[in-house]
């Protein structure tokens, strides 16, 4: 058999390639650049790579082709939107990550050991975090545009592996951080095993590894439905794990709490976009015609996820855990978009993902600012009276919470409205009702935090709000602005999405 030289459309792959290049340069810097200059150069490279990639993406925003890389990457409107959202969120998140206060001096050192103390005194910095982030971002960019199963699997691992490591880099409470890394890794690997098996069965079902190929055999009805069933089920396990849907959610509260807050924010926002991008593509492109098989199950999972996330969040005392459960609930809401299985569903999901992602980064950005002598203060009770001490910060956090709760004039409301109407339009009333009820429950704990911050008197226990670094300020400000603008005048974005968002097969 003769060998065909692969023909690649570099313009369309550029966004990903640029990020990867940035990552590699970062590795080289780690290897050769003197310690002193590392941080600045890393930061520069990273930002440069991301901005450049965004620019490159902008260049090709209107193109669409199935064979960007021999049919392994589908380049289309939806893909562009996912990638753009990921890049924007990533840039915002990098600003948080750049605040090195969050990261351990020397990841390898044993917590509490002299080694660690020396490292701290020497003011070492884990600048590796930048290339790791870039690798993860590259994976995330690839995930939602991957159009065959290999690429899908590779992308999944590519975004996961760096995250496993980054979860373990926290400067304080390192045992927790490492535990988070371990759990995330073991469970992640476990889930990806299921994912892989799913791939295998789909391959067995259709004899093809491209999404379009699978779609054809689903339409054609050829092949053994048992394999299709197993394939869909196992692949869903892998994907639902990533978005943290019940019952595959268990990792997220622990990891969210253990990981350095900046990373949590990045992971919570960006991973959701990437994973949902992939889910949407797979289910819209390949399994659309088999909806009768998976949709009811998905509906049930969505409902359970919303309700579970909201109900458990009520009882949380730690702000990061609370946000984790709220993100579980939001995963449930987003599944409504998958179930809608319509263009409006797709548009709604994209808008929701972007709005939610931005707000999430902002919220975690604020979490990094509330500290005492021993680092961040997660305990919500110690957040009481924050509104008195730093009204601006408290109000901003309140804004994000209101957005999560879906109160009008915030982006969250538009998102919620559009996604639920899409779901209801496609006939799933149960989702609408469950969504409304769980939103009511959710409102309870968002408001509880607002009450704590504004209506409770502050406890003098050294909890204070540090002056945010310029970069952090930028992140928070931008996120807040976006959240508000998308709430008051979302028309431009919605129209843009409406004109762009399409999947090609």
């Amino acid at each position: 058999m003769e060998f065909i030289a692969p023909s690649l459309n570099y313009a369309q792959l550029a966004p990903m390639l640029i990020v990867l290049a940035g990552a590699l340069i970062g590795v080289l810097i780690e290897a050769f650049a003197p310690r002193a200059s590392r941080f600045s150069s890393q930061l520069f490279i990273t930002l440069f790579a991301l901005v450049a990639s965004l620019a490159a993406l902008f260049q090709v925003r209107n193109q669409s082709s199935v064979d960007a890389a021999m049919g392994s990457v589908a380049f289309d409107g939806a893909g562009v939107l996912f990638q753009a959202s990921i890049l924007v969120i990533a840039i915002l998140a990098i600003f948080l990550i750049a605040d090195q206060e969050n990261f351990t001096a020397l990841a390898a050192s044993v917590p509490g050991s002299d080694e660690e103390r020396e490292a701290v005194q020497a003011d070492l910095r884990v600048t590796e975090v930048f290339p790791l982030t870039l690798f993860a971002i590259a994976g995330m960019l690839l995930f939602p545009v991957a159009s065959d199963l290999i690429t899908l699997f590779v992308a999944l691992e590519m975004l996961s592996l760096p995250l496993y490591l980054m979860a373990g880099l926290s400067r304080r409470r390192r045992l927790m951080s490492q535990e988070a890394a371990l759990k995330y890794f073991l469970l992640g690997a476990f889930a990806s095993a299921f994912f892989l098996l799913g791939i295998a069965y789909l391959y067995g079902y259709s004899g093809s590894i491209t999404l379009s190929g699978i779609q054809e055999s689903v339409v054609g009805g050829a092949g053994n439905d048992v394999f299709l069933l197993l394939g869909v089920a196992f692949i869903s396990v892998g994907l639902l794990f990533k978005v943290g849907a019940v019952p595959f959610h268990a990792w997220s509260p622990d990891v969210y709490q253990g990981a350095p807050t900046a990373i949590t924010g990045f992971m919570a926002a960006a991973t959701k976009v990437a994973a949902f991008g992939a889910i949407l593509r797979i289910f819209y492109v390949s399994f659309a015609n088999a909806e009768w098989q998976w949709r009811p199950a998905m509906v049930i999972i969505a409902i359970i996820t919303m309700v579970f996330g909201s109900v458990v969040a009520i009882t949380q005392r730690d702000v990061k855990r609370m946000l984790a459960y709220s993100s579980i609930a939001h995963a449930g809401f987003l599944l409504a978009g998958v179930i809608a299985l319509s263009k409006s569903g797709l548009e709604a999901s994209i808008f929701y993902l972007f709005a939610y992602g931005v707000a999430t980064v902002g919220a975690f950005g604020i979490v990094t600012l509330v500290r005492d002598s021993s680092g961040e203060v997660g305990d919500l009770n110690r957040w009481s009276g924050l509104g008195k001490r730093s009204p601006l910060l408290a109000s901003t956090f309140a804004l994000f919470l209101l957005a999560f709760a879906g109160i009008p004039l915030t982006s969250g409301f538009i998102g919620k409205f559009s996604i639920f109407s899409a779901a209801y339009e496609s006939g799933s009333t149960s989702i609408l009702i469950a969504g409304v009820l769980s939103s009511a429950i959710a409102a309870f704990f968002y408001i509880r935090v607002i009450v704590l911050m504004f209506f409770k008197d502050s406890v003098e226990d050294g909890t204070s709000v540090i002056i945010p670094s310029a970069l952090t300020t930028i992140t928070i400000t931008v996120s807040a602005a976006v959240t508000l603008i998308l709430g008051i005048y979302p028309a431009p974005l919605i129209d843009f999405i409406a004109t762009t968002a399409t999947f090609i097969r």
Partner: protein
């Protein structure tokens, strides 16, 4: 018609007076009472002018209505702020403004030592205005406004000294019991609108000709309830006794002469309804009869002079109601008794006030006695009123009451005999308790406490008493001369056909006079010619004991309405917190509990998480399998 414009002023003047006095505040203390009196008097003047205008015209042209402006107009529900002046309302106008003015004058001196005299006069003016609106309104809704207006004025005046808790309570009681009556009035209006499509007197009168008896009976009964509330008729009579908490002039004006007779006005005004609704009419008679005995019985046992008079008022209005219930024959007579009663009862109340004035506000008659020689004018005027009320010819009460008794007998059949004898019995009781009052106060030996220096009241006080006394002597004769009043009112009440003469006029008069003699002599024996002890004796007949307790009216209301109401309220208050709000809180707690439970699934052990994933995967497969099969 040219004079029509002045109808509005009739009401506006006193209303303006009250507003000015209330807004001006202490500044008006100097001249407030004078202004109020002047305004009231000028209304009276206007009234007389209207009367003269009417006299110029033919009887059927005398009535006229004047539309001030369109008040409420929604869909077919159109009510103008319209005034109706006719032979009936003019009587009231003159009574109200006339007696009203006299009592203004009286109060100038009676209240001279009260720091809030200005406020008192403001209220009086307010009352005059409201009462005039009540009798001048051309529709039931306008009447309703005046109706509650006088209720408000009465509330304010009863509670004028509301820093005394008992008085405050009394005023509240009066208002609430009146509201029960008002409810009846609103029902009547609603039924009228729903069935007849109008609420004006003229409209209802016209529609009533084609209306079903059921409808009219309904309206009639509701109107009766309203009348009972306002006129302290059974079963809504309980408030009148306590209403004596107000300053005596108030009792004279509102709770004797005018307001309490509004019920009678309402019934006579609605004659066209009752004429067409026999059942309702019968009820009116019954209520009247019961009340006249009820009140009289209470009157026999009261030692408080004002309460005794109040009881008598109740009983006398019973007479009027009864008469009004006797149909065309009775309306005019009811009004006649109403007017004469207005004079003599007001006079006697003022007399009582004058006595209290001389006796340091002592009201217990057992502490009076032999006051006749200390306050002669009061004695004489009161005495004339007394003769009038018990019905001694030729005093006013004789004529009116005599006619009522006669009409009652002539109602025909058993009913007639029954009612007739009841009215006669009432007459005996009246004579008894009024003589008792008279004797205990003026003629029997003195039983004062120490440091009492009884003295006659100043001229401003006795002048009105004299005028009223004259009224109570003459009016009866004037009204009946050639059936003057009856004919005057005929355009309103219509001709009353010839009725069966059960007893000739002379006989009835004879019976009536005998009744008076019997009652009076018993009283004389009991109080004039035998020792009266200053403390109310305890060893008395059960009847007396009951009568002292107002025949248990209050205890009845308390045990049947108040107590259960309070209990219900307490339950509801508890229930609202525990049951209604409790349910809401329960929902919240449930959510929290569920959260706490589900939280346990987050054990922290990676292996349990992976187990969860594994199970999840299997369930998912199973689920999809089940669905697809």
């Amino acid at each position: 018609m040219t004079t029509s414009t002045s109808l509005g002023y009739l009401i506006a003047l006193p209303l303006a007076g009250s507003i000015i006095l209330l807004l001006a505040g202490r500044k008006a203390d100097k001249w407030g009472h004078l202004l109020a009196t002047a305004l009231s008097a000028s209304s009276f003047g206007l009234g007389l002018y209207q009367l003269s205008q009417m006299l110029r015209l033919e009887p059927e042209e005398r009535a006229f209505t004047q539309k001030l402006f369109s008040w409420i107009s929604v869909g077919t529900f159109n009510v103008d702020a319209g005034l109706l002046l006719d032979q009936l309302s003019i009587c009231f106008v003159l009574l109200i403004t006339g007696v009203g003015t006299l009592i203004h004058i009286y109060s100038i001196s009676y209240m001279s030592h009260d720091r809030d005299r200005r406020r008192f006069f403001a209220y009086l003016n307010l009352f005059i205005a409201a009462m005039l609106l009540l009798v001048l309104g051309d529709s039931y809704l306008n009447l309703y406004v005046g109706w509650e207006g006088v209720g408000l004025a009465s509330y304010l005046l009863i509670g004028f000294w509301n820093q005394k808790p008992a008085y405050a309570t009394a005023s509240k009681k009066a208002f609430v019991m009146n509201r029960i009556g008002d409810m009846g009035l609103s029902f009547a209006i609603m039924i009228a609108f729903a069935t007849l499509g109008t609420v004006t007197f003229a409209g209802v009168k016209e529609a009533s000709e084609s209306a079903s008896t059921a409808t009219l009976t309904g309206i009639g009964i509701m109107l009766l309830i309203a009348a009972a509330g306002k006129s302290a008729q059974f079963p809504l009579q309980a408030w009148l006794g306590d209403a004596m908490a107000g300053p005596t002039p108030v009792s004279a004006l509102i709770h004797a002469a005018t307001m309490v007779t509004a019920g009678v006005y309402l019934i006579t005004r609605s004659n066209f309804i009752f004429d067409a609704a026999p059942t309702a009419q019968l009820l009116v008679v019954i209520v009247g009869a019961v009340t006249l005995i009820f009140g009289a019985l209470i009157g026999t046992a009261k030692d408080d002079i004002k309460k005794a008079l109040a009881a008598s008022t109740m009983s006398q209005i019973g007479y009027m109601t009864l008469a009004a219930g006797l149909g065309p024959a009775g309306y005019a007579i009811a009004i006649m008794h109403l007017l004469t009663h207005g004079f003599f009862k007001a006079g006697m109340f003022l007399g009582a006030g004058s006595v209290m004035h001389g006796m340091k506000d002592q009201v217990n008659m057992r502490r009076y006695g032999a006051l006749g020689k200390f306050m002669p004018i009061t004695f004489v005027t009161f005495g004339l009123g007394y003769l009038a009320i018990i019905g001694v010819p030729p005093f006013a009460g004789f004529y009116s009451k005599d006619l009522i008794i006669e009409t009652a007998f002539n109602a025909g059949g058993v009913k007639g005999i029954l009612l007739g004898s009841m009215t006669l019995f009432g007459a005996i009781l009246t004579a008894f308790y009024m003589t008792r009052v008279m004797v205990l106060t003026f003629t029997s030996p003195e039983r004062w406490e120490e440091d009492q220096h009884p003295h006659e009241s100043p001229i401003l006080m006795w002048l009105p008493m004299v005028v009223l006394a004259i009224g109570s002597v003459t009016t009866g004769y004037l009204f009946t001369r050639g059936d003057a009043l009856v004919h005057w009112l005929e355009p309103v009440f219509g001709e009353h056909g010839e009725h069966t003469e059960l007893l000739p006029h002379k006989v009835v008069s004879a019976l009536a006079i005998t009744a008076v003699i019997i009652g009076a002599s018993i009283a004389l024996v009991k109080y004039q010619f035998s020792e009266v002890d200053a403390e109310a004796p305890n060893k008395v007949s059960i009847l007396t004991r009951l009568a002292r307790k107002d025949l248990l009216q209050d205890s009845f209301n308390e045990s049947v309405f108040m107590r259960p109401g309070q209990v219900l309220t307490r339950w509801l208050v508890k229930g609202d917190d525990n049951v209604v709000d409790g349910t809401v809180r329960l929902v919240g707690r449930t959510a929290l509990g569920a959260g706490a439970e589900l939280r346990r699934t987050q054990t922290g052990f990676a292996r349990s998480y992976s187990a969860l994933i594994l199970i999840g995967a299997l369930v998912l497969i199973a689920g999809i399998w089940v669905i697809t099969q």
